[in-house]
Subunit: 379 residues, 4 copies
């Protein structure tokens, strides 16, 4: 058996007391309670939550051991992620940093000709202070970061970038960008012949190269050095075998035309996002990144993950709802001041999942795990 699931919680009754929504002890909300989250409400979808971990984090914002709630119906997923977390934890934890942050909206402006477009862009770039001011007037959380023009013929996409405090922030940046654009349309000297608040270039809900190379949400770097004995005992592999497979997997990405190199980050992200009231549609954009595995001179395994598009929030969106809030609270990630911590834990989840699956694939245990823990009613 390649995968050792950590044991079930000892005291289910304690669990009920702590997490009454998850335990189904709280009546469903009324439609009015859900205003702003749903329309035409007909009930609550229920997705099983498994507790993975503990995951030891030595991040800049996430420090200590975390149990991580994952909502999924894919058998073996929680066990596999737990295995990776165990390997990380036994290795002293994962070091993580927020390398960059920003959320974009990319309005489109069209003019009569290229020369007008150029003049407009020069003017718009000179208005950065006004944009910053408008942002501050519009939102108490958003901060204007930069604007980058992509001129194409007689049109330009202005990629506006903001930080969004502890919210994922998509709506916030839409509203701020809208106010900025109203200012632009009101004050610019050139005649705008077409304007759209979004040119389909912001990367919202879409994997794209632009966001992959830069940032969307948080760009988190994470790494761990796994002692050889942990690789052997927990991951049932060796540093050399995992490095070898990691290289084949990088070439697999290249051959199939995939952004970055990773195996199944979408699994952990979707499960974490559903449990924690994040936007599950953002799996499309968050599930890109670069995993790297290397044997160290000492014979241990260096593993890093670079995840540039982790768009998560500890406030707003679905975070206030019953089970979602409970899941965030399990990790002490609910509310103001917790978004970076949540982003680092999210990176830790991804790295754990990658370590587990890459080990399983490197050693031929992947199939067995699916056969022993997953249902196969149709195989």
């Amino acid at each position: 058996m390649p995968i050792s699931p950590t044991s079930l919680p000892d005291h289910p009754s304690a669990l009920e007391a702590d997490h009454p929504h998850l335990a189904g002890k709280i009546p469903h909300p009324e439609p009015d309670d859900l205003r702003g989250n749903i329309e035409n409400f007909i009930g609550m979808a229920q997705v099983p939550v498994g507790l993975a971990g503990p995951l030891l984090m030595q991040g800049s914002h996430a420090r200590g051991e975390f149990k991580v709630p994952l909502a999924t119906t894919e058998g073996a997923l929680v066990a596999s992620y737990s295995r990776g977390m165990k390997a990380i934890t036994l290795s002293g934890g994962a070091k993580a940093e927020i390398l960059d942050e920003g959320v974009q909206r990319a309005p489109y402006f069209k003019f009569i000709d290229l020369a007008t477009t150029s003049r407009f862009v020069a003017w718009a770039l000179s208005e950065a202070e006004a944009f910053r001011h408008i942002t501050g007037q519009t939102s108490q959380y958003a901060e204007f970061k930069q604007v980058k023009p992509i001129i194409e013929g007689n049109s330009v996409t202005l990629v506006f970038e903001f930080t969004t405090g502890d919210a994922a922030g998509q709506n916030m940046v839409t509203i701020c960008t809208n106010h900025i654009c109203q200012h632009i349309l009101r004050t610019c000297k050139e005649e705008v012949i077409a304007f759209y608040i979004e040119s389909n270039a912001s990367g919202d809900k879409k994997a794209n190269f632009q966001s992959f190379q830069h940032v969307r949400g948080r760009k988190v770097g994470i790494e761990v050095v796994l002692p050889r004995e942990v690789v052997v005992s927990v991951l049932k592999s060796t540093p050399e075998a995992m490095e070898r497979f990691g290289r084949a997997a990088a070439y697999g990405s290249l051959k199939s035309g995939t952004l970055g190199v990773q195996a199944h980050c979408a699994n952990g992200l979707a499960a974490l996002f559903i449990a924690c009231g994040q936007d599950a549609a953002c799996v499309a954009e968050a599930a890109v990144g670069i995993i790297r595995l290397e044997t160290t001179p000492e014979g241990n395994l260096y593993a890093s993950g670079t995840f540039p598009n982790l768009i998560v929030g500890s406030v707003g969106g679905g975070t206030r709802l019953g089970t979602q809030r409970e899941c965030l609270e399990i990790m002490d990630c609910y509310g103001a001041g917790k978004a970076r911590k949540l982003a680092e834990i999210t990176a830790g989840v991804c790295l754990a999942g990658e370590l587990s699956i890459l080990a399983a694939l490197a050693e031929g245990h992947f199939v067995q795990a699916h056969q022993s823990l997953g249902r196969r009613p149709n195989a």
Copy 2:
């Protein structure tokens, strides 16, 4: 108000009777009930479900009006999708076809040199009948479709493709490919110096160009001709304005390095997948496609969607769970013989969402919708 949500269900009490799990009337499952779907079970995440539609489908498999359950916490999403569905329905429904189907697993074989690799590939391609036979012995649902080699130096990735009946089928194809590979390793004359069941090139849980250009799950084509008056009255736009924005959006995709052209398919897919027990991680791969909007000579709007990676199932995975089964049953998509129907409805959902958001973006209503229907606790 740009977006007209359809009204709430008339008889909530009837709803409870029909959908007791969604209504929270059924006690939570015991961990044993969830074997094969989750480990370390601690409770059920609850996600609000809104009923969008009706959506009129004139597909090859989905015919008639469908109410579509969407699980989300993003305000305005159900209303926006409902608006698109209303436009489609008032236009006589969307015509849809399954254009291709197949799920891949991509094992990796390495040999001492290129010449050995070439001989191996020639032999493997000659074994198609054996692969077909093994597949039939291994699974009562999977059928071997083809194998395609990607030789690179002294290694080859064999992309095996299967149809998987009514299941999404990722585990099924893993198990079949494993049996095939055991046969290969047992009978091929060349010495295999490295073998992995997956080379990270199958497209599982990842957007990639290979799957985008070919198929993963089902490739569904869908289209509708929206009469001008429907575009005006329901979408609050015109065919010309939508076509114009559609073109700008296509260039936005190109400029940002996105696969295909679409605005936010991930939103509808994530909501449908969570509600219906599909694998939400597959949003990463399913949310690619090509939308095209054109004004017809008669002044109406032709809209098509081509979605090559809709990987859904009406059996297996999370489909048997309480609320998931209820949601599938709302669309009569639960159980054997329903997967293609579900795939066509899924395409309909995506097309509806695209029509609504593209109209909103074309006309500057996008921001208002978010401001009026979405919560903005942090703006």
Copy 3:
């Protein structure tokens, strides 16, 4: 006959006087004359040069009519480009601007861990003034523009960007980056455990998304409004037909996984680069761009080209050689102060070629042109 080649030069004897190298009147250079351009010299490859144009440019740097020398062995190429130039010229010329410029070198630094990498990057970004100073000491032409870090795990690629005066500048930026890196290695406080002057991310001699979205060499925007009668009489098409095909071609790019949208810029670029002593290997990176065709409200054709990676020089490289210098002189593009002019003309050549081929494809004349003007010894 869809394509009307402009007539041959009237006075070949005058040509010989003006361009004795092209005319073969000058003995071959001695190996010593070619030091710095070739090793193991065995002779001169001879490629036929046709004179395309005139092309009327209304650029910021290129103004007036230009005859453009194109070296190729592909029949119909010069005629096709001339046809596009005729359409542009009869339309009053193409307006062009240099939108951005910069050439990159992307060294790689590796450290013991992510935290060290982060500290290093913070320090490196603070050294911009030192980098600027070193650049000024190293080259009288290069100017330091910016440095952008791409952190990945315990490594970082620093993308250094410079302007390079009138030279294409690849060697110049290599040498400047090397001096900067020597400074870095000498003065940074962190222990560098691996350093490479190039991480294979600069885009040198390779199409890549990074250069496509940003700049490499010069990013040139160019546009022309073709009166309907010019489209009809010269291009044998209509604005509507060309716009329609342009849209299909944009989707063709998306479907096949191509950067940007263009049909055959590589043809004009290769021919111009060979004639003019540019680096023909740079066709790989220069031949990306975005063409857009739109019918104007007046029924004319708006055509724009955005070419972000035109890496050309009017000094250095092969520009000083006999025929190369003569070809540059035909356009008054030889020597100091002419590189931007050459870049704008290059964009004009690309746009002309696109107009001609897109018209031919839109109208079904493409095949005939190849049959009537191209040799088909093997058809």
Copy 4:
């Protein structure tokens, strides 16, 4: 000095006798001689040719030692490629195979709706024998290989693929596809509402993912095992250092959004194509590929190159011209029956160039080579 150029030819006078065109001893051709290759002829561009090699090939078609003519103005290029060839030759030569071949044309058909498109595609796929027959009637060299549909909404791109004998074959496949399409338009039962001979998806003169993953021209696999002492003495590196850099370079490709992994294939391809009458514009598509470097258990260096888009011909195009024919003859690659040999040598050139530059980059010799052999008039 990291790079050891092989010595100049011993007997220049012999060279003149063998290669009078290269030596400038033959008067320029008259315009009539160039019919089918150029219009508006004004003279011959002259590009210095250096002889690289010898390169020992152990291919399926190219066997023995080859001196390779490279036309370039980039100092150090011939020396660098010669260094890589020396390493290959001293290692017993490179083994190569043609893994696939085919050239594509991708016509576009549009119908009233998706259902009609589907019926059309089903019919078209059933016409393969007719397409084969038409191809045989149209060309004595082209053979129909396959047709692959890409349906998108109410349109389809049919990617026709042919083998083209010893010609590069772009015109040949255009003409054959045109005849096939005339047959289609004449005999298909559905009403075609738009038809273009090319939908901008064939990959002609453009790098794209479709061609990269499949084939365009020839897909050549090539490999060599370099004994450690050759790596040390000729490449001035070690297998370990080169493998390490090769991995960093693969990640550099991923980070910058490049197809495949290679450093500067465009350099060798452009130089070989110009010298040998190949289409230099095809550098855009040919310069993609996958290089892989690995230390063997014995401490030697395994190096492979996989080049899927080598579109070359030994007949047609510019091959019959004076210096071009001489250059082909130097490698015994002129005329019928030589195209596969030329393709394998081309792959050998690319691999040699990669080995040399990757060694130089791995060891920090890259800058010195450029400083010692390249002119730097503007540094």
